[in-house]
């Protein structure tokens, strides 16, 4: 455990060095937040209520999504693992006494922890300053929102870990990463809240893991009945189930990959 704590600490320190990048990211999130919010406000000006969402709900989701973008990598930027698989350096990772998935997870959590404080919080404050947002009233829902954020980070990590692992079997994960990078924003509710999709499409997208990264956390903040099971607890359970399933799949494929490296030498 101590190993992972120190990996976590290293990542945290490393990202705190990227001040200019953090500021630029914050600026980008704010710009996109304003654009998306203005478009949705125009839509809700024409129809005040759509599938249980009001204008305030929609704009809140826009800023929850932009705030999540720091810690939760919806776009699926490749983990360092992908490059290490291509170069063959991954053999070192597999030979470490630490489990590679736990190792990279600790790293990603370090990155996410930094991003929560310096990207999520300021981005959401920008939203609060510019627009009227719906905030949870009860402390319990704030706690649930925090837990939802953590689970979203877990799901985003495991997805990216799996994209990178694909490199073991197809040689070059860049194509997979790029394709996943466009699927993520669409299916998570980042490009457009899933409630605005046609019902049939939304029904399918809500069941997929990507919705655990933006749509479900946003609805937990808003306390919507459209959550799985109709409650905040149901939403958290949905995220936790996907996180567990993907982590298990990741562990299984890591073992397969390790065996493959041992047999074929990479």
């Amino acid at each position: 455990m101590r190993v992972y704590l120190s990996v976590f600490g290293c990542a945290l320190r490393r990202y705190s060095g990227y001040r200019a990048a953090t500021a630029a990211g914050l600026f980008t999130n704010s710009v996109f937040g304003v654009i998306n919010a203005l478009v949705l406000l125009a839509v809700f000006a024409a129809r005040p209520q759509i599938n249980g969402y009001t204008a305030i709900d929609a704009v809140t989701q826009v800023y929850v999504a932009q705030a999540l973008l720091g810690p939760v990598d919806v776009i699926g930027r490749p983990l360092a693992l992908a490059e290490r698989i291509r170069s063959g350096d991954v053999a070192v990772d597999l030979l470490r006494p630490a489990h590679p998935m736990a190792w990279f997870l600790a790293q990603d959590l370090g990155r996410a922890a930094f991003a929560v404080v310096f990207r999520s919080v300021p981005t959401f404050c920008v939203g609060l300053a510019l627009f009227r947002l719906a905030l949870p009233q009860e402390p319990a829902r704030w706690a649930a929102a925090g837990l939802a954020l953590l689970l979203a980070v877990l799901v985003s990590f495991t997805l990216r870990y799996l994209y990178a692992l694909a490199g073991f079997w197809i040689g070059d994960a860049r194509g997979v990463t790029a394709l996943a990078g466009t699927v993520g924003p669409l299916c998570s509710g980042l490009v457009l809240p899933l409630v605005l999709f046609p019902d049939a499409v939304a029904g399918v997208l809500r069941a997929l893991p990507w919705s655990a990264m933006v749509q479900v956390p946003a609805e937990i903040v808003l306390g919507k009945a459209t959550l799985p099971g109709g409650t905040v607890l149901g939403g958290l359970a949905f995220q936790a189930a996907w996180a567990a399933a993907l982590l298990a799949l990741g562990a299984l494929l890591t073992a397969r990959a390790a065996r493959r490296v041992a047999v074929q030498g990479g």
């Binding site: 630029a24 600026f27 980008t28 710009v31 996109f32 654009i35 024409a46 197809i170 394709l179």
Partner: protein
């Protein structure tokens, strides 16, 4: 003329290099297409809910989207790589470019030219074609001739904005993300009728970062509609002039950046 020939030759070389990984290239291209189709779907869904946005119906909005999308994606195809200037400076690759008897800007622009970006161009062109076919205004020879001129002007404007943004990296190597917020954020904004964002944003997009001349003013011209924001009518005839002016500004900024680079070496 020889610059064009050089560009084509280098672009072709990069294309052949990429074609060594056909599966990856196919997936990368597909990813770009999926992202664009996703954006288009979001636009269609939003108009499905609202009917009209900023006084524009779906077909009129598709015209805006098509004009903006085609200009941006063509600019991305031709010049998108300039955003990696800071990286080239850091690795010393820029020095290598400077000792070749070919304009450095051309070399930076064509670096890692990738036909995968066509994956974005094609859906945008299709959207524009669809919108033009449904255009309510009468087709005169002048209007028909205006379409390619407007697309070309838009492309030049986007290329210029991109180059100016990249030149920030002569001053601060890690300015890429901040510039991206303007270039990509501007693209996202220009894809919807400007009236959606209100008067202040529209003013900024006309007089500060003149992206209004990429899609909004051309659409007003093609649709023969009065400006709902009440800006001067003659602005819609300005795109070619704005493009020429901005290209000159971009060239001057590039030269100034190069001069600065040569006096500081970083």
């Amino acid at each position: 003329m020889s610059a064009v020939a050089t560009y084509v030759r280098l672009a072709w070389a990069w294309t052949r290099a990429l074609a060594q990984y056909p599966a990856s290239l196919a997936m990368l291209t597909a990813a770009q297409a999926v992202a664009t189709v996703g954006e288009l779907a979001a636009l269609v869904f939003l108009f499905g809910h609202a009917g009209r946005l900023g006084g524009f119906g779906l077909h009129e909005a598709l015209l805006v989207y098509g004009l903006a999308g085609l200009a941006f994606t063509l600019a991305d195809l031709l010049m998108g790589s300039v955003e990696r200037l800071g990286e080239h400076i850091r690795t010393g690759a820029f020095d290598v470019m400077l000792v070749r008897p070919v304009p450095a800007l051309l070399q930076v622009a064509v670096e890692e030219f990738s036909p995968r970006r066509l994956g974005k161009v094609v859906p945008c062109a299709a959207a524009l074609g669809w919108a033009l076919a449904a255009l309510p205004a009468e087709w005169t020879p002048l209007r028909a001739a205006a379409v390619p001129v407007l697309v070309a002007s838009g492309t030049v404007i986007c290329c210029s904005v991109w180059v100016i943004g990249a030149c920030l990296q002569f001053v601060a190597l890690d300015a890429r993300e901040a510039a991206n917020a303007v270039t990509y954020g501007g693209q996202a904004m220009a894809q919807y009728p400007l009236a959606v964002y209100g008067r202040d944003v529209a003013r900024a997009a006309t007089y500060v970062v003149p992206l209004a001349f990429v899609s909004w003013q051309p659409a007003l011209y093609l649709l023969e509609r009065p400006d709902p924001l009440g800006m001067p009518e003659w602005l819609r005839f300005a795109p070619p002039a704005v493009a020429a002016l901005l290209a000159l500004v971009a060239a001057a900024v590039w030269r100034a950046g190069l001069r600065r680079y040569r006096s500081t070496g970083s």
